[in-house]
Assembly symmetry: C2
Homo-oligomer: 222 residues x 2
């Protein structure tokens, strides 16, 4: 019963996601859906990423949280236009749905945007199930979270086009087998690119940003 | 529309949770619902906790994950009876619902159990909404997750009876204001006990385990 209801919600979501996808294609906007656990360092990673992209790649951001505008405030410092969505306004949703993205995107002049980054609600389960009309999905996993998260949350790693392994500056202080973590990611999703970075020290940021720039270029080129 | 549907699911859940609560009261079992982000160190914390409780407090565990039996395998080493629930068997649910707990509890001889610990699915949003018939809820937050999580996920911190701030052994290597984190927890939930621990080094475990023992004793005393 519960599963049937969820299925109906997902069907409605998929229809709106397709409308979003057409709109973004029409406006030549590349949309990136960024997902992770709470506290994996999404916002720091995106702040450093956007600083390296702008003004070359004109970037806008939609930030999802249950509550607060903390992340939007932090990302606005990059100079990119930012919209915060607080899901506690509609029941405390644990993910961003396609209709929320459609509404939030109205805040931007899409003709002036090359890349729209969506920072999803911190959650490794539900956001993986909701298509928002994006071109690519990325998961951020931090090395403080344990090696087995890809096996425990397989859908998230299966649907994503790239994985970022963050906080590698903390490796000397942890009992963490990074190679095992990467093996677990690749076991769930063979050939997925895995970028090992520290958003704090900016170690490893170049190859991640180069990958993203290439993706945006592919969509924008005539 | 979506919110109405969710409300109905929650009503059904509450009814079953009350049945669970009566059953556990009748069998004199104290039920603890432990929630957190993925990778906060719930399983390590519980392993160390159970080792300090057994055999004095007869403990059983229900472990929830979307996939894998990793955590149940780890906790079984304590000697406590453990049941793993994998929610991918029923749609990949992001939380444990009351009917799942009712079914899993059938695996135990409840007359021989003083404390039933439920390790919920790693998620700071949805599990907070689902009563499972527990006596107390506890949230585990690790110091690698950022100070503002209580403000961003307020419901979780509002409904919990205690908070554990884990991984304090990593504080020297982080830019983390522990006092701010505690202030944020108390801002959402005044007077909540906050236990600062490192499950790895066992620093701070005594006062947390003493609190839990006292709670169990209160319920069991005639």
């Amino acid at each position: 019963m519960e599963i049937k209801v969820v299925r109906k919600v997902l069907d409605v979501n998929n229809t709106i996601a397709e409308q979003n996808r057409k709109l973004f294609a029409n406006k030549k906007v590349f949309v990136l859906n960024v997902m992770s656990s709470p506290g994996s360092g999404k916002t720091t990673t995106l702040g450093k990423t956007i600083s390296r992209l702008m003004p070359d790649v004109r970037t806008a951001v939609i930030v999802g949280d249950v509550s607060t505008t903390n992340d939007a405030d932090r990302l606005a410092k990059t100079g990119a236009p930012v919209v915060q969505v607080n899901t506690d306004a509609f029941g405390g949703d644990c993910h961003l749905a396609a209709h929320v993205i459609a509404k939030a995107a109205e805040s931007f002049t899409l003709e002036d945007v090359d890349l729209l980054i969506v920072e999803n609600v911190g959650n490794l389960v539900c956001p993986a199930e909701f298509d928002i009309g994006e071109d690519a999905k990325v998961v951020v996993l931090s090395v403080t979270e344990g090696e087995d998260k890809p096996l425990k949350y397989p859908l998230m790693f299966r649907v994503c086009d790239a994985a970022i392994l963050n906080k590698i500056d903390l490796l000397p202080y942890l009992e963490y087998d990074k190679d095992e973590a990467v093996r677990n990611i690749v076991q769930i999703h063979p050939d997925i690119p895995v970028f090992e970075i520290s958003a704090r020290t900016e170690d490893g940021m170049e190859s991640w940003v180069a990958w993203l720039k290439e993706k945006v270029k592919e969509k924008l080129k005539p």
